[in-house]
C-alpha cells in the first residue's frame, strides 16, 4: 500500500472541530509531506489529539477536507482508511495474545496466511519470543512496541502516534524515541506524532507544528523553530527564552540592525529577525536563548569584545548541573534572566550576589511583537512534564 509516488502527502484544508460552543480546533491547513516524521506539539487541550483523531477518522471534522494523496477521505469511516493509529494507552486487545493482536488488521482484511508477516513484525520490534504472551504479561515498553507492530503490519499510508511514549519512564522514553525513529527510517512510512514533550518532538521529527488553543502557532524544522520563534508561546514552550521588553530607537532597514533600549541600555538585533515591522518609538520583545549568553564578572567588563549586546545585572541564583551551570540574573532590563554556562573554565567569582555583565552576539537576538503575553507557554512546559 506504500506507493513511492509523490502526492502521498496528508493534506488538511480548513479542518476544524467544535463541540457545542467549544472550539477544539480552529480551521487549519496542514500538509504532512510523504515519508516524513511529523510532530504535532502542544500542551494538553491544544487540539493536537483531536487533529490526529480526525485524520484517523475517529472524529468527524466540523468543517474542512482531509486528503491522503489525491484521495478525499473526509467521509470514510476509520476502517476504510489506509491509516493506522498507535494509541496512548496502547489499546491492545486483552483477550488475544501478542501475535493475534498484531494479526488483527490483516485478518479483518481477509488475509489468511499471516504467520510470515507477523513473525517479521515481531522481529522488527524485537519481541520474537513473546508471540504467545498476553498483553498484560508485557512491560510498558514492550506493549508499546506491540502497538506499533500491530499498526505497521498493515503498511498504512500514514501511521498516527498519539502520545505513544507518555506512559513510559524517562530512560525508556529516550530509548523508544530512538527505536521509533529507527523503525520510521526503515519502513519509510509517514509518521504523525502527537506529543506534549518538546524535547521528544525536536529529537524525533523532521517537521514540528506547535499548536496552542486549537491553532497552529508555527510550523517548521526543529532547529528553525528553536532559533526563530515567531510567537512568545513558541519561544517559551520550545526550550527557554529570555524575553525583554524594549523600545525601538532606530529602525534598521533590511538586514541592518534595529537598535532598542531596555532598562537604560542599548541592544541591537538584525532587522530581518523581527516578526513584525518595527516603528520608531514602538515596543518590541527582544529574545535570546540562555545558552547564547556569556557571563562576565563586572570587574572584567572592559575585556568584552565590541559590538556585543550587554546587559548588567546581579546573580540571584546559580545551580550546578554537571555539564553546565544555570544562573538566574536580575537586571534593570528584566528580572530573572536565565543564563546557561558550559563548565569549561569556571569563574569562582560568579556566585549569587556578584555583579555581572551578560553579553551575546546580536545575531542571536530575535524580536517579537510586544502585544503578546510575555509568559505564554511558560508554565505549561512544567505542567506537562
Amino acid at each position: 500500500m506504500t506507493e513511492n509516488t509523490t502526492g502521498g502527502d496528508v493534506r488538511l484544508t480548513g479542518i476544524s472541530k467544535t463541540y457545542g460552543s467549544f472550539t477544539a480546533v480552529h480551521p487549519l491547513d496542514l500538509t504532512v509531506p510523504q515519508g516524513s516524521f511529523f510532530a504535532l506539539l502542544g500542551a494538553s487541550g491544544c487540539g493536537k489529539t483531536t487533529t490526529l483523531r480526525m485524520i484517523a477518522g475517529l472524529e468527524d471534522p466540523s468543517t474542512g477536507t482531509i486528503f491522503l494523496g489525491d484521495r478525499d477521505v473526509t467521509d470514510l469511516p476509520p476502517y476504510k482508511r489506509p491509516v493506522n493509529t498507535v494509541f496512548q494507552s496502547y489499546a491492545l486487545f486483552p483477550h488475544m495474545d501478542i501475535s493475534e493482536n498484531i494479526a488483527f488488521g490483516l485478518r479483518r482484511r481477509g488475509i489468511k496466511s499471516v504467520k510470515k508477516q507477523v513473525d517479521d513484525m515481531l522481529e522488527l520490534v524485537q519481541l520474537g519470543d513473546k508471540a504467545r504472551h498476553k498483553p498484560h504479561q508485557l512491560s510498558g515498553g514492550q506493549q508499546q512496541r506491540v502497538a506499533v507492530a500491530r499498526a505497521l503490519i498493515n503498511h498504512p499510508q500514514v501511521l498516527l502516534l498519539d502520545e505513544p511514549l507518555g506512559a513510559l519512564d524517562l530512560k525508556l522514553r529516550r530509548q523508544m524515541q530512538l527505536e521509533l525513529k529507527r523503525i520510521q527510517t526503515e519502513v519509510g512510512i509517514t509518521f504523525v506524532h502527537v506529543t506534549h514533550d518538546q524535547e521528544e518532538a525536536m529529537t524525533m521529527a523532521d517537521q514540528v507544528a506547535v499548536m496552542n488553543g486549537g491553532r497552529v502557532e508555527q510550523l517548521g524544522a526543529p532547529a528553525d523553530l528553536y532559533e526563530n520563534p515567531r510567537t512568545t508561546f513558541v519561544a517559551n514552550f520550545l526550550g527557554t527564552s529570555n524575553l525583554i521588553e524594549a523600545e525601538v530607537v532606530e529602525t534598521g532597514s533590511g538586514s541592518a540592525d534595529v537598535v532598542v533600549t531596555a532598562g537604560g541600555g542599548k541592544l541591537r538585533l538584525p532587522g530581518d529577525r523581527c516578526t513584525d515591522a518595527v516603528r520608531q518609538g514602538g515596543k518590541l520583545l527582544v529574545g535570546v536563548r540562555p545558552e547564547k549568553i556569556s557571563l562576565a564578572h563586572a570587574d572584567d567588563a572592559g575585556s568584552i569584545a565590541d559590538g556585543r549586546n550587554r546587559v548588567t545585572g546581579r546573580i540571584v541564583d546559580s545551580s550546578f548541573i554537571g555539564v553546565s551551570t544555570q544562573y538566574v540574573v536580575n537586571s534593570p532590563a528584566g528580572a530573572e534572566l536565565q543564563v546557561y554556562e558550559q563548565n569549561v573554565e569556571r569563574d569562582a567569582r560568579l556566585r549569587p550576589g556578584a555583579e555581572v555583565v551578560l553579553h551575546w552576539n546580536p545575531a542571536h537576538t530575535f524580536g517579537l511583537d510586544a502585544a503578546q503575553d510575555i509568559d505564554a507557554g511558560v508554565e505549561t512546559v512544567e505542567d506537562a512534564a
Partner: protein, 264 residues
C-alpha cells in the same frame, strides 16, 4: 494460647464454611435414606432406592423439566435485554438515563411478595391467562436487574479505545462488536447469566402467584412438603448441588491452566 491466636482466622473461616455447607450435607445424606412412612425427616437405613428411580414420584420430573426450561429461556431473555440495557446506560447519554439507572434496581429492592401480587393484578387486568408465559415474563423481569448490574460493571471498566483500535484496524461495526466488544464483556455476561439461571430456577414466591395451574419444581417441593417429602427431592437437590460445584471447579481449573500456559 499462641496456637489459638495464630489460627483464629482459619478456625472462624472453617466454622463459617461448615455453617453454610451443613444444610447441603443433610440433604445429601438423607437422599440415601429409606424413610419409614411419608416423611423423610429421621434417619432409618441406607438405601439407593431413590437414586435408582429419581422420577419415581408422580409429576416431579415434569415439574423439574418445566423449571429447567423456564430458567433457560428466562436466562436467554434477560441476558439479551440486560446486555443491551447495560451498554446503553454506560455508553450513551440520553434523557431519563439517571431514572432508568435507579429503576433497574427496583426489582432487587422490592419485596418479592409485593412484586408478585402486583404482577398478578396486572396479568388479571389485562386478561392474560396464567401459565408458562406469565411466569417467563415475570422471571425475565426480575432477572434483568441482576444481568444489567453484572454487565454494567464490566462495560464500565472497558477501555473505549479498544473498540476505536478495532475500527482503526479495518474492523467494521459488526466485526468490532463480535471480535472485541463481546469477548471482553463476556465474563460479565456469563456472571449475569449464571445468576439469572439460579434465580429463575429456585424462585417460588413470584412463580406461585403467577403460575396458574402450571407447577414448577420449587412449587412441587412446597406442595409435597405438606403431604410428605419423597426422597427423590433430596436426590434432585444433591444432583443440582454436585453439578454446580463441578461447574465452579472446572471453571477454576480452566482459568488456572490458561494462566500457566500463558506464562510458560
Amino acid at each position: 494460647m499462641t496456637w489459638l491466636r495464630k489460627n483464629v482466622v482459619v478456625i472462624a473461616g472453617l466454622l463459617t464454611l461448615a455453617y453454610m455447607i451443613l444444610p447441603n450435607i443433610v440433604v445429601m445424606v438423607f437422599s440415601f435414606n429409606k424413610p419409614n412412612g411419608r416423611f423423610n425427616y429421621s434417619w432409618q437405613q441406607f438405601s439407593l432406592d431413590a437414586w435408582k428411580d429419581p422420577c419415581g414420584v408422580a409429576d416431579m420430573c415434569e415439574s423439574l423439566t418445566l423449571s429447567l426450561q423456564l430458567a433457560a429461556w428466562a436466562t436467554v431473555g434477560a441476558v439479551v435485554l440486560g446486555t443491551m440495557i447495560a451498554f446503553a446506560l454506560v455508553r450513551y447519554r440520553f434523557r431519563a438515563r439517571g431514572a432508568i439507572n435507579s429503576l433497574i434496581f427496583l426489582p432487587m429492592a422490592m419485596p418479592e411478595v409485593v412484586m408478585a401480587a402486583s404482577l398478578l393484578t396486572l396479568f388479571l387486568n389485562m386478561g392474560i391467562e396464567l401459565g408458562f408465559w406469565t411466569v417467563l415474563i415475570a422471571h425475565i423481569m426480575f432477572c434483568l436487574s441482576f444481568v444489567v448490574t453484572a454487565v454494567k460493571a464490566r462495560v464500565m471498566s472497558m477501555d473505549p479505545r479498544l473498540e476505536e483500535a478495532a475500527r482503526d484496524l479495518y474492523a467494521g461495526p459488526a466485526q468490532t462488536f463480535l471480535r472485541v466488544t463481546l469477548p471482553i464483556a463476556a465474563p460479565g455476561i456469563a456472571a449475569g447469566a449464571l445468576l439469572a439461571f439460579a434465580l429463575s430456577f429456585d424462585d417460588f414466591i413470584i412463580t406461585n402467584f403467577n403460575a396458574g395451574s402450571t407447577v414448577t419444581f420449587p412449587m412441587f417441593v412446597w406442595g409435597s412438603a405438606q403431604r410428605g417429602t419423597p426422597v427423590q427431592i433430596n436426590v434432585i437437590g444433591t444432583a443440582m448441588f454436585v453439578l454446580a460445584v463441578l461447574i465452579v471447579v472446572a471453571g477454576q481449573i480452566i482459568t488456572n491452566r490458561r494462566k500457566k500456559t500463558a506464562t510458560a
